[in-house]
């Protein structure tokens, strides 16, 4: 399992549903929503969020710059138990 877990936030009203991010994602996180935005475009969303590593590949190829990427280190279970103590 990847050390980092990522998450993307898509600006729904600016997304044009071009699918360039869908094919750019190395871990097949992104799909297009069934519902559409105000302009009638299907919207990119995390269909498979657990697979996101926060690599930002989707965001840098997005022609409209609508994807923001975050990532956080996963804590190992021992470390987590220690923290809880």
């Amino acid at each position: 399992m990847a050390k980092f877990k990522g998450s993307i936030v898509v600006d729904k009203e600016k997304c044009k549903g071009c699918e360039v991010c869908v094919v750019a994602c190395p871990t097949n996180v992104i799909g297009l929503s069934r519902e559409v935005n105000g302009k009638g475009f299907h919207i990119a969303f995390m269909e498979n969020p657990d697979a996101c590593t926060g690599c930002a590949n989707c965001a840098i190829v997005c022609p409209d710059g609508v994807i923001t990427v975050y990532k956080k280190e996963r804590l190992s279970s021992e470390k987590k138990i220690k923290e809880q103590k």
């Binding site: 998450s7 699918e19 975050y70």
Partner: protein
């Protein structure tokens, strides 16, 4: 490993890895879905942001789909008549040599109506950067054949494909200007995949750095899609581009530090 991180745990300011450059305005770009113009704009904006030269950069916009680029980059920009951007950039740079000056031009703009301006600015070695978006047709006006249209490529004015016998050969203007003594850095890149976006960003950065060092003219060609004009979906268009445009317009550096790179 703990896999219970929720999205809310991750989506926090301190975990941010990538967001749209603040050198981009909040305006929604008018480009067709999947068009490479938007990607190219953001690469230029990111380089300007990273070099911290937002107040010192002047862009010259073309006639073509990118005509409204000044609405999207938060820098000083001046609109040129069709094809004349290198001439205008020459004037701006000579009047304000301390500024970073670039043109952003399509293939119809740079390689058809603006051929003279392009070649002379390159030959004079003006200390500017030219970003050249080659999508093989006139996108804005309805997908007509351009000098860059590939042999047998369909366009609205070559519906059966470009017949070289009748319509002549396509022009590799980037290789042509690389031969001129005034060009210092000439390269061809693309923006359809993350790898190429990173390469193009390096090329754009190099073009601005060369200008800082007063090295002469840098030209970065970006092979891109015009999915509307090609009548394909964006993903299909990018694939078509790799299969058909790349053999004729191979990505890679052509001239580095004033020296032609020998083929292989």
């Amino acid at each position: 490993m703990n896999d219970n991180l929720s999205n809310a745990d991750i989506v926090k300011c301190e975990n941010l890895v990538y967001k749209r450059s603040p050198v981009m305005t909040d305006n929604v770009m008018h480009y067709c879905p999947g068009c490479g113009h938007g990607t190219a704009h953001q690469i230029i904006a990111e380089v300007i942001e990273e070099m911290d030269i937002q107040a010192e950069t002047i862009g010259i916009t073309p006639v073509g789909c990118a005509v409204l680029m000044y609405n999207y980059l938060d820098i000083d920009m001046q609109e040129a008549a069709h094809g004349r951007a290198p001439a205008l950039a020459t004037a701006v740079k000579r009047l304000m040599p301390e500024k970073y000056v670039f043109t952003y031009q399509g293939d119809g703009d740079l390689a058809a109506i603006g051929t003279a301006e392009t070649i002379h600015a390159c030959n004079r070695g003006e200390n500017i950067a030219i970003f050249f978006i080659n999508n093989g047709i006139y996108g804005m006006t309805g997908g007509q054949m351009a000098p860059t249209t590939l042999p047998n490529m369909r366009s609205s004015t070559s519906p059966y494909g470009r017949d070289v016998e009748m319509m002549g050969n396509p022009l590799r203007i980037t290789e042509l200007v690389a031969q001129l003594p005034g060009t210092y850095y000439v390269t061809r890149q693309a923006v359809h995949t993350p790898t190429y976006v990173r390469k193009t960003k390096k090329a754009v950065r190099r073009a601005f750095e060369n200008q800082k060092l007063k090295k002469g003219l840098s030209l970065v060609e970006i092979v891109s899609n015009c999915n509307s004009g090609w009548k394909m979906s964006p993903v299909q268009a990018n694939k078509w581009m790799v299969d058909n445009m790349f053999p004729f317009y191979p990505p890679g550096d052509i001239k580095l530090e004033g020296k032609m790179l020998s083929k292989d």
